[in-house]
Structure formats: structure tokens, C-alpha cells
Amino acid sequence: MSEKDDDVANTDRGDPPDQPDQPDRNDELTAVDTAQIFSDLVSTDARNRAADIADRARERNLGRAAELAAWVTTAEHGSLSENQRSEAAEIAHQLAGSAGTFGYLGVTEIAREVERLFAEGEGHDCWAKAGDRVRDLVRCLHAPPEDLE
């Protein structure tokens, strides 16, 4: 598994758009602002640690989004081998698991869709859609995490 953190600097940092449609809330999928959840419970030191962890997670996830964008480009210019598909799907899977834990539930939903596209999709329309969704991932990761409600 590789994490191209250097690619993060190359991602679009325009004004964040509205978040995409949000999933239903349930016990397994709860919005979390990791820094906020500690704010009323623990010391300033712990709050700062939580904020640092969340920042690093966001950067890692932006790196994963950049890797996915590169895989989409590869797919658009040819075909992906089964190993390449698996690698791309695994990156999307990791992104889905991480982002939601740090409050980016919309990113989790989009990443799951991208994972499915890499696992099962084929053809120009598929990769065009994957490219759109990866760009959505980047935009959402540049927005603040969702509020706790």
C-alpha cells in the first residue's frame, strides 16, 4: 500500500462546495468531529492530539484521493488489470473506512461508490463517472467535517 502524500499539494483547493447527499444516520454510521468529541471531556493536550490526528487523517485521505485520480486516468487511457483494479478498490475501501471515522460521512459514501466502480465497472462512462466522484471526494475533504447533530 502506498500513500502519495506529496500529491496532496497538487489537489484543487478551491472553495468547498456543499456536501453531497448525506446518508441516513444509524448506530454504525455516526458523524464525528474527532476534535470536538474530546473538547468537553479531556484536557487541552488531548484535544490538540485529537485535532492533530484528524488533520493527518485528512491529509492521508487526500493522498488516497490523488491515487484514485491517477488510477482513473490510467483506466481512461486503456484497461486496468485485475491486480490494478484490486489495488484501486482497496485504496477506496481504506478511504471509506477512515474518512467517516473522522467526520466525513459523505466521503465514505462516495468512496464506497468508487470502490464498486473499480471492482465491477467497465467502459468510458464508468471511468468518467469515477473521475467525477473522485473530484467530489477531493472537494468534500477540503470542506470541514460534518457537524455532530
Partner: protein
Amino acid sequence: MSRKDVLLVDDDASIREVIQMTLEVVGGWTVRLAASGPEAVQQVRERAPDAILLDLMMPGMDGPATLTRLRSVASDQNVPVILLSAKVQQRRDDQQLTGLGVAGVIAKPFDPITLPDRISTILGWAA
């Protein structure tokens, strides 16, 4: 009661960090970390924890393979294992994973702040 000793196995550094912090700060437990299946096996050989949190999908030795290897380590025979999985979207999947002989399954993404309670509930640990 002695402080609980939990081994967390996950290849995602951010997930390891946030779980460690939550379990230590909120749960008051001791948390050891492993970034891979082989690391986990080595740690268990050195000292068996009270429980293992095991990521299902890891590169190389994945969760089920790690679980099989862990169960072959004498000191781990009775240590409860909870799987962490981003794949648990349907009850059928949950049942399949529970069939691996784990104490429970926690889906990713999860709410870190409630994680100690969820683990305690699964393992029957008193609050």
C-alpha cells in the same frame, strides 16, 4: 480490577491513533499497537492481551488469516477478538464474520467516543 490491555491491529495509522487515544483517555485501558498481522502475532507471543481489535482488510496477511495464525499461538487460545470492518453493511456479512469465531464485529466508520462502551458491551466487561 487491573487495567485492561488491548491489542489493536490496523494498517491505517490514523485509525490506530484515534482508537488508541480514545481507549486510553475515555476507557482508561492500556493499548498496544500492531500495523500488520505478523506484528500482531509477535506481540501476542510476547504477552497475551485481554482483547484484540483486528482490522478485517489489511494488505498481506488480512484479518481472517491473522486470526487463524493468532489462534495457533498457545497464549491466544482464549483471547477474545473483535473485528473492525468497513465491509459490514448487511446482516448476512456480519453473521459470516461472526462465524469466524470472533466475539463481535464493529463496522467502520465508527464513532470513536462510543468505542470503549461498544467493546465493553461485546466482551461483557463492567463499565
